[in-house]
Symmetry: C2
Subunit: 143 residues, 2 copies
DNA sequence: ATGCCTGCAAAGCTTTTGCAACGTT
DNA sequence: AACGTTGCAAAAGCTTTGCAGGCAT
């Protein structure tokens, strides 16, 4: 996933590569972790708020970013593939990491057997402390 | 979980049992499945919208209901315990069922080993078709 | 009698939409 | 030149807050 791949995805779908869009794509790529619509808007004073939302929607459709909800429901975006994956959300710094392995098929089969529910998709969000914040906490406790 | 247990929970915390609150508690209990704030408001014309939200917040704090997000982020409430559990959301009728068994500890341990992320909580939402909607679909296909 | 609760209306936020002007192709 | 795109401002949802009056305890 690179700036170029985002640009290519837009070209393929015949979306125009305008100034505001290129600025947004660049900013999205700079962000190593997740971001909100408001943060993007704040970082790009000359891009309208509506354009930020319109472009985020576009990137979602392209599958170039994904949207997730914080524990309190706040929507947050994250660059990355649209392939099946889940999220580890650090409750201290808010950073989000992806993970793909989810061995819950046997659990879903058991659910189907017990309740008749036929699962077609699932979403797992794990909350906790990332490695960095754990280290920081340990350090602070020593002070 | 019954109407009485909700009332008791409020009494314990010394919350006043007013008319609007009792009406809301009754309506929440009548609902077998999930509900939105707006639905509650629509069902109780003489209770103010603000009171609906204030009471929902209260019940959340008491742990008498839980809040979850639909796939599109729409917040939905559901009566039930505050104990650890997850949700099966029917994408056809919107009904939500709980389930408790989540054998993902080994997955979390693997994550901790691979990424250093220390999980403290998690949330699993499974989307699919409930037993009723599956049956209905089969029936419709036969027509 | 106290002070928690209520409804209403207004304000707050986030997101969407209408529209005339603009810029990419 | 055509028309997709933009910024602005207004609108639209949803939720919270301020306030004067009301009600449970």
């Amino acid at each position: 996933m690179s700036f170029q791949s985002l640009v290519s995805a837009m070209e393929e779908r015949r979306y125009k590569l305008t100034g505001p869009r290129l600025k947004l794509l660049a900013t999205v790529m700079e962000r190593g972790h997740s971001f909100t619509a408001e943060e993007l808007y704040a970082e790009l004073p000359d891009v309208g708020r509506a354009t930020v939302f319109r472009t985020l929607k576009l990137l979602l459709e392209l599958g170039s970013i994904c949207k997730l909800n914080m524990d309190d429901g706040t929507p947050v975006y994250r660059r990355g593939t649209s392939a099946h994956h889940h999220h580890m959300v650090c409750t201290s710094c808010g950073r989000v990491q992806d993970f793909a392995r989810c061995d819950i098929d046997s659990m879903l089969r058991r659910l189907a057997g017990a309740t008749g529910f036929k699962a077609s998709a699932h979403r797992i969000e794990v909350y906790g402390l990332c490695r960095t914040c754990q280290a920081r906490k340990v350090k602070e406790e020593k002070l």
